[in-house]
Symmetry: D2
Subunit: 122 residues, 4 copies
């Protein structure tokens, strides 16, 4: 029903910012989430498989994401999963998107200086 | 079993940083999460009740949180719920804690400049 | 903001069913969630601390929960956290509630025979 | 990192049960999750888009799922997302899987009679 997820991972591409014909700001980026697990055989934490997502943000979140995020940075993303079939000419596939409610730099891996922007979120 | 939550809210107190006798860095702060809901009667988004949490972070996340967060900032926090009964002399109560896995400034409300710190998370 | 959680645990009390003066069906029960973790020292899975919640359900979910759940059964519960201060005369405390969106018997621990009931959920 | 989701939806296919060459019980089924949203224009709750998942369960959960679930039933599923690229001869695509930790019939839509099975989960 709600299909909400929280993903921590690495920004895989510089954010792309657009404004729709109706004036809606949109920012997209790719997000890679690699599972870490404790390998009992080796007694060490190890990288597992990687999930790739396309994160979409809108309005004030889109504006601030475009100004704040760069490829390679660590983030935490909370939002709604959307699984979409796509087709362009002869090619088709499945896109796994997250419509973001919140995006932040992950302070597990770095420090951040934050400045409030004007404008409410909703 | 896992009791994982993701909370977006306002930092309610400046973070308090400590180092345990065994050398473990810990940073705590209060987090207020106010529900927003669409009031069909008035046709407007409205504030609902507020949940208060105590967020705890450890190791590199504790160090970076102490350096990055200030009271009044908007954050997104992902972690494990812990409900603890406490007693100090004549008083007793229940604490609702979140052992944080990830903390970030919420880009829905501001912009951030991020710098990686050395040291892996695990 | 949304404060949604999913908890797997044991039903700690037989559900209590009521109907409010306005005709709203409500069913409550206690839920105990015990963390399991892999103890590297012993090389075995071990019980950790236990979180206790009060789960509340409404409407059709309340009616079906009252008919289906018994103390001691394993369940999975998805819903919204509510942290409430309470006071009755000289005593006061904090209640941690879950307003349930979905409740089901956990098939990790048993089998179930299911029968649809009439009536939509919303 | 953890990529955990909770999905409520409709079982889209009768579960398929297998045992691997190494003796591991596996049960798979398709799950359809349709978003419900409040349409302010019409003032009514409406169906939105549908996400399709393949749910995988293992060990005791696999055995109990195969015995308990039927196509068309409402369930709540909690587990880990896995996004996998696949290729069989000339065709390729993306599979969105959930490795289930817990599966239960959703009591919002029906009643259930539950019987514990022997055998621990881990």
């Amino acid at each position: 029903m709600s299909d909400l997820v929280t993903i921590t991972g690495v920004v895989g591409s510089d954010p792309r910012h657009n404004v729709t014909a109706t004036g809606l700001p949109i920012t997209n980026f790719r997000l890679a989430s690699t599972r870490r697990f404790f390998d009992r055989a080796t007694g060490a934490w190890t990288d597992g498989e990687t999930n790739w997502y396309t994160v979409s943000s809108f309005r004030q979140l889109a504006l601030n994401t475009a100004r704040s995020l760069r490829k390679g940075e660590r983030v935490v993303v909370h939002g709604r999963l959307r699984i979409r079939a796509w087709e362009t000419g002869e090619r088709s596939g499945t896109a796994i998107e997250i419509d973001a409610d919140a995006i932040g730099h992950d302070l597990s891996w770095g420090v951040a200086v934050y400045s409030k922007t004007s404008g409410a979120r909703l």
